[in-house]
Symmetry: C2
Subunit: 221 residues, 2 copies
């Protein structure tokens, strides 16, 4: 059985190694993500290696073993199910769920997660649009495109966010946008690659390229 800390390190490592350019992930990135010093991350890498979750030799990049990957996916499953619960049943806002799920994910009970999944109706995506792995670690592939790449005139639906920071989520909230919101790209301004959008409430908004690079969408029609 893994400790809460071992689980958190493993999960962060999974995200670092699975995200784009994940091959460059090492001790320092791991430490930074977890807000600890590199010395701490280094000693945890050794411990995870002892437990056969990570393959690690000094001065080379760590990789997850199949066991490590499977274990991380189960933790991600728990995290996203709890986020969904908080959002759907307990009136938590979009940007409030993560912090609490970060604690709830460590509760050890097979039955708890099974029953929570059933209670929520076997959701496929969490409130941020991220796919929820099933008990076998399989998850839906989210078909998405970046909003930044959509041509004017195209209607789209928001399917996820690349960034789940509070600042970003609250900005989205202020625009009246959420997962599943539909919007229309009105204009593309070549100077700075910003976009003019028609929002669900009928208003229009001008958003930066940086914004548009953080929103995943599905083309409609």
């Amino acid at each position: 059985m893994l400790s809460k800390n071992e689980e958190d390190y493993l999960k962060v490592l999974f995200h670092l190694l699975t995200g784009e350019g994940g091959d460059r992930a090492g001790t320092n990135q791991l430490a930074q993500q977890l807000e600890v010093k590199p010395a701490s991350a280094n000693s945890m890498l050794k411990r995870l290696s002892e437990k056969k979750l990570v393959e690690y030799q000094k001065y080379s990049k760590p990789i997850l073993t199949p066991l490590g990957r499977a274990t991380a996916l189960q933790l991600i499953r728990r995290h996203r199910l709890w986020e969904t619960f908080l959002f759907q049943k307990l009136n938590f806002a979009w940007d409030e769920v993560h912090e609490v799920a970060e604690q709830l994910e460590h509760v050890q009970s097979e039955k708890l997660i099974e029953q929570l999944d059933r209670f929520l109706g076997y959701p496929k995506f969490d409130p941020h649009g991220d796919p929820i792995p099933d008990a076998q670690g399989n998850m839906a592939v989210r078909e998405y495109e970046l909003l930044a790449n959509i041509a004017p005139g195209q209607r789209v639906r928001i399917t996820g966010m690349k960034d789940s920071s509070t600042a970003f989520l609250q900005y989205l909230n202020d625009l009246g946008l959420a997962l599943h919101s539909e919007l229309l790209v009105l204009e593309h301004i070549p100077f700075d690659n910003s976009l003019r959008l028609a929002l669900p409430d009928g208003l229009t908004a001008q958003v930066s390229e940086k914004f548009a690079l953080h929103v995943f969408v599905l083309r409609l029609d």
Copy 2:
């Protein structure tokens, strides 16, 4: 902020000191309840004393400060709300809720508990019939009498259990009894103080005095 372990020690101490004959509770009882050695309980008593939750001088019985009592009641609130959630929403059996609630109770989030309480409809009692403290630490007084003291001919409703051990809860289950079950005392056998009962399903059962001393009831009619 208290650690998970500090919270658990505090809660057990509260139950030891609040239960009948709670004045006799000391280092050894505390250690036994928590399944640790007396040396460990002793050092935790010092730490809780440092944090002004317990008044403690060596070789004398510890008592809770008002702050310690209030803190313990909030933990008990969280525990019983989670038990209620697991029982009512996630199909957990009566004797399965405690172990998981023992973990969930340590999740730190005011909003989580507020919203959970609302989601459950502000329940006054947990699945074992134990009262749930409100945010101020107040709880309903459960009017109860021991089944052992009920005279033949009296109809009663089960309002709680003095013992929440798995063995006891499963015996109750096997008899078809649960919280709120109604039953009729048919006969009192003076020889061993056992009772004959009419059960909800129409059958009768013979139960020992020990059993009858662990069930709280309300007289009906």
